[in-house]
Symmetry: C2
Subunit: 110 residues, 2 copies
């Protein structure tokens, strides 16, 4: 699969988004990452593998410990992709605004 698909797959699970949220505050050890989740360690390992494949985390050895940190770069492609469709929700917002503006004007005329 292509890189962008890997990134979207990686962030498509709430647990993996929570891990990103946690690591965005600073690097952590595996046990720190696993601790808040009420799931098997095995499942945390799988989540981390998907994040790693997407380039969203990296592991660094510091002495005898391995620290996992967040890498934001792959999300730039997500932002780029979604930006292409921005006009679709902005147009809809504009339509809402115009609708409410008209309703307001009608009310004021009464």
């Amino acid at each position: 699969m292509d890189e962008l698909s890997d990134v979207f797959t990686a962030v498509s699970h709430p647990t993996r988004r929570a891990i990103i949220g946690q690591l965005a505050a600073g690097q952590a050890r595996f046990t720190d990452i696993a601790q808040p989740f009420d799931t098997a360690l095995n499942s945390v390992t799988k989540h981390l593998k998907l994040l790693e494949r997407a380039g969203l985390i990296e592991r660094k050895k510091q002495g005898r410990e391995v620290f996992i940190s967040f890498r934001g770069e792959p999300l730039r492609e997500v932002a780029k992709w979604v930006h292409e469709y921005e006009r679709f929700w902005k147009e809809r917002l504009d339509q809402f605004e115009q609708h409410f503006q008209k309703m307001k004007e009608k009310k004021e005329k009464k």
Copy 2:
């Protein structure tokens, strides 16, 4: 699963992103959507189901035909989510820029 996870899952496949790209240019019939892809109609149906579950497409009956159109609103949540991590790739870009600026200054001194 939550809505945002559904949206990320929906856009995590290149075929589904291609369908979004196609529908962003205007509504289309199922056969128009399936035609450019070298896959079984069955697989196109599955892709459309995932897009529909995420609220990214809607079907409208016009006479005897069903037209499928793109809805951009769910992508607003994607944009919001990714925006929270913007500083992570911007910081990295800044570091690159500073690095190149320094290299340039060194060169100019020589």
